[in-house]
C-alpha cells in the first residue's frame, strides 16, 4: 500500500466517523416527520459517498428490526438516487441510483468485472462496512443486463460462522458503463438461536427424501443455516415474522424425470429443524438458482457464477460453545465506543 492509498483510506475512515458521530449526536430521526432532509445528515451521506447529491426528501422507515431514514434526491447528472441510513449507527445500509445512459451505451460494457469489484470494495470502504470481520465471504459475481435500465456487475457477500449460513446478505452493483455504484444493500441480523445440532445431515436428507415422493432422488446440496420459523408475514415489508431457527436445507432432484430440453431440471427443497428434526417446509422449485445466473453470465461472459451454498464440514462440538460473530452494526458501535 503506497502513501496515497494510506491517505485515501484514512480520509474515508474520517468521513465514515463523521457520519457516525452525526447520527449519534442527534435525537432519533424516526421521531421526525417526513419532509425536507436534515442538512447535516444529507451532507454526511454525500460525504461518505464521495459525490455531490441534491437531497430533496427524507422519510423514516424500517429495515427488519432497525429504524432507518430514507433520503431521496438526484446526483449531479439529475439521475434519481436514494440512500438508506441506519439510525442507531449512522451506517449507510442502502443506496440506489438510476441510469440515464441506456440508449447511448456501447456494444460492450466500459469496465471489466475485476475493475467493477475494485470499485465495489472501494465503495464499502468509504461506507465503513467492516467486511473483513464477522465471517463475510464474497459468494458470487454476476453480470446483469437490464436493457435501457443499465447493465450491472453484481457482487454478493454472505456471512458464515463455522460453515453455517447466517441471516445476513450484502450486495453491491456497479454499472458496467458508468462504473458508478448503482445499488447497494446491507442486511445483518444477530444470531439469537442456540447453534445446537441434534439432527445430523443424513437424517435431514432422509426425512426430505421420504416426503419428496421421488423415485430416484439425487441430493444436490445440503446447507446448514440460521433462518426463521414461519409464523406470519409482515404484509408491508414482505418480511417473515417468526422466531429464529437453525435448519438444514436439502436440495433434491429426481434423476428419473427427464430434463426438459430448454429448461433446467426441476427439483424440490426441504427444510428440517436441526434441533427437533421437524420437516418445517418442503417446496418444488421452478428452477435451480444456477439457471438464471448461468444465463446472466453467458450474456456478459465476464463474471463467473460461483456455486452458492457450499457444503461445509461442521465441527458440532466446537460449534456448541462458540459465540456467533457480531453484526456489522455491533462492530460499528464497538469501534465508536473505542474512540
Amino acid at each position: 500500500m503506497n502513501r496515497r492509498q494510506v491517505l485515501t483510506l484514512a480520509w474515508h475512515g474520517a468521513i465514515a466517523a463523521l457520519l457516525l458521530s452525526l447520527a449519534g449526536a442527534r435525537p432519533p430521526l424516526a421521531a421526525q416527520q417526513a419532509g425536507a432532509p436534515q442538512a447535516s445528515l444529507a451532507a454526511a451521506v454525500s460525504e461518505v459517498l464521495g459525490e455531490e447529491f441534491h437531497w430533496t426528501e427524507q422519510r423514516p422507515g424500517r429495515r427488519h428490526d432497525r429504524a432507518v431514514v430514507w433520503l431521496y434526491g438526484e446526483d449531479a447528472e439529475g439521475t434519481d438516487v436514494s440512500a438508506v441510513v441506519d439510525l442507531q449507527t449512522g451506517l449507510l445500509v442502502g443506496f440506489s441510483r438510476g441510469w440515464m445512459g441506456g440508449l447511448m451505451r456501447g456494444k460492450e460494457p466500459a469496465i471489466t468485472a475485476e475493475e467493477a469489484l475494485k470499485r465495489a470494495d472501494g465503495f464499502l470502504a468509504r461506507v465503513g462496512v467492516p467486511i473483513r470481520e464477522g465471517g463475510w465471504r464474497l459468494e458470487s459475481s454476476r453480470f446483469f443486463d437490464h436493457g435501457t435500465a443499465g447493465r450491472d456487475y453484481e457482487f454478493d457477500w454472505s456471512k458464515y460462522f463455522h460453515g453455517i449460513l447466517l441471516l445476513a446478505d450484502m450486495w453491491v452493483r456497479v454499472n458496467g458503463d458508468s462504473g458508478l455504484v448503482s445499488y447497494y444493500h446491507l442486511w445483518d441480523e444477530p444470531v439469537v438461536v442456540p447453534l445446537v445440532v441434534r439432527v445430523p445431515a443424513t437424517e435431514a436428507v432422509r426425512l426430505v427424501v421420504r416426503r419428496s415422493g421421488m423415485t430416484a432422488p439425487v441430493v444436490e446440496r445440503v446447507v446448514l443455516g440460521v433462518g426463521r420459523r414461519y409464523v406470519a408475514d409482515d404484509p408491508l415489508t414482505g418480511r417473515v415474522v417468526g422466531p429464529q431457527m437453525l435448519g438444514w436445507s436439502v436440495w433434491l432432484r429426481d434423476a428419473a424425470v427427464p430434463v426438459p430440453r430448454d429448461r433446467p431440471p426441476l427439483g424440490l427443497i426441504g427444510v428440517v429443524d436441526a434441533r427437533t428434526g421437524e420437516l418445517v417446509r418442503i417446496r418444488s422449485l421452478p428452477q435451480p438458482p444456477s439457471a438464471a445466473g448461468e444465463r446472466a453470465g453467458s450474456r456478459g461472459a465476464r463474471a463467473k457464477t460461483a456455486k452458492r451454498l457450499v457444503p461445509a464440514k461442521f465441527n458440532l462440538a466446537r460449534l456448541r460453545n462458540a459465540k456467533p460473530p457480531p453484526t456489522v452494526f455491533q462492530l460499528v458501535q464497538q469501534r465508536r465506543s473505542r474512540r
Binding site: Y72, D80, S96, A149, H185, G238, Q287, G293
Partner: protein, 156 residues
C-alpha cells in the same frame, strides 16, 4: 411465454409482438395504439426476449406508444407457482406496493426501476430467511423499455 420470446398466450389466444411478414394473420401488438398506457408489466419468463421472427413483447409495447414496459429476458416470475407463500407472489406484492406507497410503505412512491430493485430485495431476503435456498435470480432478469423513471402515483 415461448422460450424464444415474442409471444404471449392470453386466456383465449396467442398474441405475438409483431408480424413475421407483411400480411401475416394472427393477433399482434403491432398496430395497436397504446399511447394511453403508462406502464405494462409482463410478469412472465421470456417476455423481454427477442424472437427473430415475432419480436419482443415488452419492447413492442413501448413501440406502440406505452411509456414504459417491463419484461424478463429469460426466467421471470412464474405464476403457475402461485401458492400464497410463493416468492413469485411476494415479488408481485413488493413491486406494486413500492409503486403505490413506496418501499417499506414509507409513503414515497417509487420509480419502476426502484420498485423492481425493491422486489428483488424482498424475494432474496424471504428466500434466505425461510432457509429456502432457491435464490430467486429470475427476479434480476428484468428489462425496462421506455422511461424507467416512471411513477404510477399520483394517478393522472
Amino acid at each position: 411465454m415461448a422460450p424464444s420470446g415474442g409471444a404471449i398466450v392470453s386466456a383465449t389466444r396467442l398474441i405475438h409482438a409483431r408480424r413475421p411478414q407483411p400480411g401475416a394473420t394472427g393477433n399482434f401488438l403491432e398496430g395497436l395504439n397504446l399511447r394511453n398506457l403508462l406502464l405494462a408489466v409482463y410478469g412472465a419468463c421470456y417476455s423481454a426476449t427477442t424472437d427473430p421472427m415475432y419480436g419482443n413483447i415488452a419492447q413492442q409495447t413501448v413501440i406502440q406508444g406505452a411509456r414504459t414496459a417491463v419484461g424478463f429476458d429469460g426466467y421471470g416470475p412464474g405464476f403457475d407457482q402461485n401458492d400464497p407463500g410463493s416468492l413469485h407472489r411476494w415479488w408481485s406484492n413488493a413491486l406494486w406496493q413500492a409503486l403505490a406507497v413506496g418501499p417499506d410503505g414509507n409513503g414515497s412512491p417509487a420509480t419502476i426501476q426502484d420498485a423492481l430493485e425493491h422486489a428483488v430485495r424482498v424475494v432474496r431476503e424471504r428466500s434466505q430467511t425461510l432457509l429456502m435456498q432457491d435464490n430467486p435470480w429470475w427476479s434480476e432478469n428484468y428489462q425496462i423499455f421506455g422511461d424507467k423513471t416512471v411513477r404510477i402515483v399520483p394517478a393522472r
